[in-house]
């Protein structure tokens, strides 16, 4: 469907039709470049594609949209290209065993927690907003004399200075803290603390008591603010529909997209990229190659260490990129019943993280290569908002599961069934009767995510989001501004600043860097 006239030479090749690759391709095509997107899978979207996991049941690995900037979606005309919303401003509800669920909003809280929540969210919002300018732009370089780098660093300093003395002190105090200690300072309700702490460790290799978890939480909040006010959203047709709209936008701008065309390697001549070779052996020429693949795959597999310096390869090799989040898709023959969760709440996101200790214990197992005995989950039932994802009257449950280590002791082949059973038992406890309604199940462990989506380590951020791996050192110094040491090769994926989640900023910024290089 996506094929246009096949040529053997383009200005730019984009490796991978994930959301960042598509945003990059659309932006490049709008900038006047001839662009070819090469996708290994038979459909676009990467880990954000809506896939059939059981006959008639569809789900996307990335299941909620909350980080893509509104202006990006507007600029690329995604509504005109068919993007519709199944739900927006979705609520978050904490599930509490043996007790009524807790809606995460001011009005649902009582007593001291209600007041503390207002103060906490207000302050976190101010901090996050101070970090917003950091997220939208290409990270500045350190130690250069370029006025743009200095301006960007000054701008960040100014944003923080603007917070005022009290907030600046507080930001300095909590910036390096763990989210466990921070939440313990503020709240009484275990359920509230568990739910707020969950977002700090979602998709990471952290427990709530791990250092730096306040920073990951602020980072997520800042990305949400940068995205605009739409908050949690669910595209109609699943996340894949967003990618289809991105693809259409790219095609409309003149880009070509080839699916089922996996790239085997990036071609180099005279110390610059000259194109790519597909696994089929076919070569396609382009002076600029932009990789939406993760940094390790791009540099170590597609390009090869021999075209890079040892120190750079050493840094790439040290990127922490082992996923700790699994994805569970269930085909259900009726809507799951979560006791006490009303009709509005079940349309949103349900968090199974009843306390910070529960999260920390779940994480303990992962530290030693075990999956959590009592896992934490982010659960959605996307078919309530979007019945088209399942046969009539049937439902899909989509859950992010923490924690499931990439390198599980004993191996996933042996222990997949045991973990799936454990997850079903956990869900059965939260939604009695659910187990009996299961028609089909798909568990995507980090190892599966690695294989399925060609992400080295199976980390959905293409590399841990942590203090030592973000901003101007993401993915590594020497490639943090989308340019790489090899002339003509760029990165546009989640491994770049500002990172993963379905955000698209890395794709747009990479395209802008390419366009800045002048005609190729």
């Amino acid at each position: 469907m996506m094929q246009q006239g096949i040529r053997s030479s383009y200005d730019c090749i984009v490796i991978g039709a994930g959301h960042n690759g598509l945003v990059c391709a659309a932006t490049l095509a709008r900038g006047g470049r001839s662009v070819l997107v090469l996708e290994a899978q038979s459909q676009v979207g990467g880990a954000a594609a809506t896939r059939e996991f059981a006959p008639g049941f569809r789900a996307a690995c990335a299941h909620l949209l909350h980080l893509m900037p509104a202006d990006l979606m507007h600029d690329l005309g995604l509504s005109a290209h068919g993007l519709e919303w199944a739900a927006q401003s979705m609520p978050t509800t904490a599930l509490v065993a043996g007790s009524s669920p807790l809606r995460l909003e001011q009005s649902a809280l009582s007593g001291a927690d209600a007041a503390a929540y207002a103060a906490y969210t207000g302050r976190m919002r101010r901090f996050a907003q101070a970090l917003v300018p950091l997220l939208g732009k290409v990270a500045p370089r350190l130690g250069t004399t370029d006025w743009r780098d200095r301006w960007a660093l000054l701008g960040l300093g100014w944003q923080i200075r603007k917070l005022g003395r009290a907030d600046m002190r507080e930001l300095l105090r909590i910036g390096g803290m763990n989210v466990y200690d921070l939440l313990e300072e503020h709240f009484e309700s275990a359920a509230l603390k568990g739910a707020l702490g969950f977002d700090a460790v979602l998709g990471t290799n952290f427990g709530p008591r791990s250092p730096g978890t306040v920073l990951t939480l602020l980072y997520r909040l800042a990305a949400e603010f940068a995205a605009g006010a739409s908050a949690l959203s669910q595209p109609k047709g699943g996340m894949g529909a967003l990618c289809d709209a991105l693809a259409k936008s790219a095609l409309a701008a003149g880009a070509a997209i080839r699916t089922a065309a996996p790239v085997a390697r990036i071609l180099v001549e005279g110390d610059r990229t000259v194109g790519v070779e597909l696994e089929s052996g076919e070569a396609v020429a382009a002076a600029t190659v932009v990789s939406n693949a993760d940094p390790k795959t791009t540099f170590l597999k597609l390009l090869g260490a021999r075209h890079l310096d040892t120190g750079f390869v050493r840094r790439v090799n040290h990127i922490r990129a082992r996923g700790l989040a699994a994805k569970l898709h269930l085909a259900l023959d009726r809507v799951p019943q979560f006791p006490g969760v009303d009709g509005a709440a079940v349309r949103g996101r349900l968090l199974l993280a009843p306390s910070l200790m529960y999260l920390e214990r779940a994480y303990n197992h992962a530290k030693y290569g075990e999956y959590s005995a009592a896992p934490a989950m982010e659960i959605t039932v996307p078919t309530i908002n979007d019945p088209g994802l399942a046969p009539q009257g049937k439902h899909v449950l989509s859950a992010i599961v923490q924690f499931a280590p990439y390198a599980l002791e004993g191996g996933w082949a042996e222990r997949r069934r045991g973990f799936t059973d454990l997850l079903l038992d956990t869900l059965e406890a939260a939604a009695p009767g659910l187990r009996a309604s299961v028609l089909g199940a798909e568990l995507l462990t980090p190892a599966d995510i690695e294989t399925e989506f060609r992400i080295d380590g199976g980390h959905w951020h293409h590399g841990e989001l942590a203090f030592d791996q973000f901003f101007m050192v993401r993915p590594v110094p020497g490639a943090a501004q989308h340019r790489t040491p090899l002339p003509g090769l760029f990165l546009c994926g989640a491994g770049c600043h500002p990172g993963g989640g379905v955000m698209g900023i890395a794709g747009r910024n990479a395209a802008r860097q390419v366009l800045k290089q002048g005609a190729t």
């Binding site: 170590l300 310096d309 040892t310 120190g311 390869v313 020497g478 040491p485």
Partner: protein
């Protein structure tokens, strides 16, 4: 879960009992040492001076010397990707290194700054040995990411002895190394010494006629004795590091930690040195394809080095150890410093290696060296005129002659 006990007695290494290892030649060196002057080198104790530096130096230039270079760190690099690996590591084109040949090489970090220099021996198909002054297995292993190659340290498996001096070929011939005179500079040959196999390379650190012998540690003492006996009539003498240092300055060779500090070890900004700055541009092959540091070196090559290591011929006869260099004798504008200095008895010149800023490093320019002399506890400062000259200071034709002349 209990952590495994890693202190099991059978895995404990005894190194902490003897911080410096002894080479297989240690007993012989101990017997010959008259001044008990030993120094640490790469984890071993080796001789600094046996008798006097001068006596040993004159043996290098007039007879034959034995120098224990066992502590030289040796790595075996083997595998199908050995050549691409080495080519990515070092700045020279290793594809051009033919079998049984040795190449002097340097390798750099990403910024094009020198990590170390050393020699690469091509011992067989996909089988190489890298000899360096310092251990750097981490850099070598990280450089192996993405290559089908194994890198392992073999320092302790190989004892090594430098046999250097104008009569060295004659001594080896007398010791029974038949055909040694046919061995060309940087060539590797396989010989027998007292019936024991020994590998010989025509390499060295003296800039003179000379060889390096590589052998199993078990054969070390017997080989030493054999050579000493064979060389008696040709003035053979064991030497220490001090005499060798005089000879290597005359030959214009660099010494790590002295003329440059490895970029892996420097702490201060601006203390790293590139091969272009060290006057080793001839070792850098920009045409061979990518190697670590190439992009940075290319940029430096285009803009021109900011400083360069040069030879200095200094007035007077007082070695300019650690001297600061100035543009004029008023001592106002500092333009560099001396890294190695010696009075050269053979050249009868006061020579030095020095790092000099652009544009003063050009051959023929005059600079001024600030030399301090301690005369019976009274310090005197002297501004000595120095001329920038080409290296090496001493390069006798016997060094490369094949066959070497009979002495």
């Amino acid at each position: 879960m209990m952590p495994e006990d890693t202190r099991a007695a059978d895995t404990a290494a005894p190194h902490f009992r003897q911080p410096l290892l002894r080479t297989p030649f240690h007993a012989r060196a101990r017997d010959l040492s008259q001044v008990d002057s030993f120094v640490a080198w790469a984890g071993y104790t080796t001789v600094d001076v046996f008798t006097t530096m001068e006596q040993e130096y004159f043996a290098i230039r007039n007879a034959t010397t034995l120098y224990d270079l066992t502590p030289m760190v040796k790595y075996r690099i083997a595998g199908p990707d050995a050549v691409p690996y080495l080519n990515r590591l070092v700045t020279r084109d290793m594809a051009k290194l033919t079998p049984d040949r040795v190449a002097y090489c340097v390798w750099c970090n990403d910024a094009g700054h020198l990590i170390d220099d050393g020699t690469v021996f091509r011992l067989g198909e996909g089988d190489y040995r890298l000899c360096t002054a310092d251990r750097q297995i981490d850099w070598l292993l990280d450089s192996a990411i993405g290559f089908d190659v194994s890198v392992s340290e073999v320092t302790e498996e190989i004892a090594a002895l430098a046999v250097q001096g104008p009569t060295s070929c004659a001594v080896l011939k007398a010791a029974g190394l038949a055909g040694i005179e046919k061995l060309k500079p940087f060539e590797i040959g396989y010989f027998a010494l007292g019936g024991r196999p020994v590998t010989v390379s025509r390499t060295g650190f003296t800039g003179d006629l000379g060889y390096e012998l590589w052998m199993p540690p078990q054969a070390a003492e017997a080989n030493w004795d054999e050579l000493m006996a064979a060389g008696r009539s040709r003035g053979i003498r064991a030497i220490g590091s001090q005499a060798l240092n005089m000879a290597r300055i005359e030959a214009g060779f660099l010494s790590p930690h002295v003329d440059f500090v490895s970029a892996e070890h420097t702490i201060r900004v601006g203390r790293d040195r590139s091969p272009l700055e060290l006057g080793l541009a001839w070792l850098v092959d920009f045409q061979k394809g990518h190697f670590t540091g190439r992009r940075a070196l290319l940029a430096e090559h285009r803009s021109g080095p900011r400083r360069r290591l040069v030879g200095l011929d200094i007035a007077g006869n007082k070695p300019a150890h650690n001297a600061l260099l100035y543009a004029a004798d008023d001592g106002k504008r500092e333009i560099g410093s001396v890294t190695s200095a010696t009075w050269s008895p053979t050249c009868k010149r006061n020579i030095a290696l020095a790092m000099v800023d652009a544009p003063y490093f050009q051959t023929g320019r005059t600079v001024w060296a600030e030399i301090y002399l301690n005369r019976e506890l009274v310090w005197e400062r002297r501004m000595s005129r120095a001329e920038v000259v080409e290296r090496p200071f001493f390069a006798p034709s016997r060094r490369r002659a094949t066959p070497p002349g009979e002495f």
